[in-house]
């Protein structure tokens, strides 16, 4: 912890001037929608209806009994719960693969970053083509192994659609995990493991007991960043299935979008948005608490 020298008064004024534009922009885009959402959620506004009477908590009550909302929340948690650990594990394995000197390492890293930097819509488009039941290569490869023509309807068959979305999602974001972990692993002081190695500890033992605890803060933050992203999952699912077949793969973001922009249920969408914020806050605080306790 560095000690700060005292800040002069004119420097303080300069500081406030410097943050003003940022504060204005964030208030305009950040705070206004939150307040507005709360206000609208207790009214009865819908874009196809003149009535704007006060509704109290009716919209929230309706949400409580809206099975489609809870299913959407379930899908969101399902995708998050499976994709997040997978991305971490695969990213870690990749990072370990590249950790020690490897010829052409720079080029590999440059190539592996590509899935992560492309638009999720483009990623979704690519997987749409790959998963095509007739003209896509995935069914063809499976056919080779099966020894007979396989025509799985990946994006229409309820048994396969979750796997399809998870594959696309994990494909796109594992490289992100890899880059984060790789960067932090290369910064770990190698002498930390030396002593343990002399004492006879093996590779995995050193990794588990020494290396991973050192980069723990990075792992926690990586999980938090990806966890938040997965919780608002929209693009990839939209590109692959638009929430279908039926509502089988609807996430809460997709359901809120449908309610707000296709059904024009303004107040109901606002209530939903507010509940999403509350759930998210609880999850984030719980996650942070766990981190604190475990530390």
């Amino acid at each position: 912890m560095t000690t700060h020298p005292p800040v002069h008064r004119h420097d303080r004024r300069f500081g406030y001037a410097m943050i003003t534009p940022a504060v204005v922009v964030i208030l305009f885009i950040g705070l206004f929608p939150l307040v507005w959402t709360l206000l609208v959620s207790v009214q009865n506004i819908s874009l196809i209806d003149e009535d704007t009477s006060f509704q109290g908590l009716m919209n929230y009550r309706r949400l409580l009994f809206d099975q489609r909302f809870w299913e959407a929340l379930g899908h969101t948690l399902l995708f998050t719960g499976i994709a997040l650990p997978l991305e971490l594990l695969l990213g870690l394995l990749l990072a370990l693969l590249f950790l020690d000197h490897l010829p052409g390492r720079q080029i590999f890293v440059a190539l592996l970053v590509m899935p992560t930097v492309i638009s999720p819509i483009v990623a979704g488009a690519a997987w749409r083509l790959l998963f095509d039941n007739r003209f896509g290569p995935i069914n063809q490869v499976i056919s080779w192994f099966a020894g007979e023509p396989v025509t799985i309807l990946w994006l229409n068959d309820p048994n396969f659609v979750y796997a399809a979305i998870l594959i696309a999602e994990v494909w796109q974001w594992t490289p992100f995990m890899f880059l984060l972990l790789f960067a932090s692993l290369t910064n770990v002081d190698p002498s930390l493991g030396e002593a343990a190695r002399i004492d006879g500890a093996g590779f995995w033992r050193i990794l588990w007991s020494i290396t991973l605890p050192v980069i723990r803060p990075v792992i926690v933050i990586a999980l938090l960043i990806r966890g938040l992203d997965l919780f608002r999952l929209f693009d990839v699912v939209w590109a692959l299935t638009k929430g279908g077949p039926g509502t089988r793969t609807e996430t809460i973001s997709i359901y809120a979008y449908v309610q707000g922009f296709q059904q024009f249920e303004t107040s109901y969408t606002a209530a939903m948005a507010f509940v999403i914020i509350v759930i998210l806050s609880i999850l984030v605080i719980a996650a942070l608490k766990r981190v604190e306790i475990a530390r």
Partner: protein
């Protein structure tokens, strides 16, 4: 021996991860016969560019221009406003710890939550389907990221350099523009790349807040889903066109990339 095995594994993994991009890329150059062939063609032989010329002829390619305008301007704006803010936080702890946390917390709000009230506000202000509307939104959404990244970089600049410039008669603003910004250029580049990539790839806001005048390229890609018989050719060609600028930016700034990602995570 061990290195050889690892090298082979690295090649396999890289090929596996790049295959979807390869597939998209080759489809964009395939003839309709090859696109709709069963079994699929892995090594296309008659590469042709007509899938692209169609996009130019129909004017669809303008959506790339729209993306370029929106992403570039919002990146410059977010970098400017965010770096000023980051400097005040790094040097003077302006607003205290709470202000920093508040700025960061703005990034946790799910877009679906803000997009609806923003949409209604934009209807009132006439900002729907305008460059300005999207630029404001992307600037605001990238601000927290810029502030936290740049704060990390700016803290590394020694105070002494700034103090000697102050003694030499520079104003605080001159110190910022003439001393601090040049010293922080690595961080500025790294942060700007990611800011640009976020804005370039963004979909939900663009879907809601654009109609036809400034459709961005990810929205345009989804317009080809379903319906038309030649939609695969258009999906792939448009996707490739929209991905080239990103790959160029990343290749160009490769050396800042890993550092850019890791610093944000370590200090964020």
């Amino acid at each position: 021996m061990k290195t050889t095995i690892r090298f082979v594994a690295a090649v396999l993994v890289t090929v596996l991860f790049l295959f979807p991009i390869y597939w998209l890329f080759t489809i964009s150059f395939k003839t309709p016969d090859e696109i709709f062939s069963y079994p699929p063609v892995w090594w296309p032989e008659n590469l042709q560019s007509s899938n692209y010329t169609v996009l130019f002829r129909d004017g669809d390619v303008l959506t790339i221009w729209n993306s370029l305008v929106v992403a570039s301007v919002s990146t410059v704006a977010a970098m400017l406003i965010g770096t000023m803010c980051a400097y005040a936080i790094a040097r003077f702890r302006t607003g205290g710890e709470h202000f920093s946390i508040w700025v960061l917390s703005q990034r946790m709000v799910p877009p679906i939550v803000v997009v609806f009230p923003i949409f209604l506000l934009y209807v009132q202000l006439g900002l729907v389907d305008t460059y300005l509307g999207l630029i404001i939104l992307y600037t605001a959404f990238n601000l927290p990221y810029v502030v936290w990244m740049m704060r990390g970089y700016l803290q590394e600049i020694p105070r002494e350099i700034e103090e000697s410039a102050l003694v030499d008669g520079c104003s605080r603003l001159q110190v910022f523009t003439k001393i601090v910004l040049p010293l922080a250029r690595t961080g500025l580049f790294a942060t700007a790349v990611f800011t640009f990539v976020f804005a370039w790839n963004e979909f939900l806001f663009a879907l809601v807040l654009t109609r036809s005048a400034i459709t961005t390229f990810p929205v345009q890609v989804t317009h080809y889903f379903g319906g038309q018989s030649n939609f695969w050719a258009k999906i792939s060609a448009m996707s490739v066109l929209g991905t080239v600028p990103i790959f160029l930016a990343v290749a160009f700034l490769q050396r800042y990339l890993v550092r850019g990602i890791s610093l944000g995570a370590v200090k964020g």
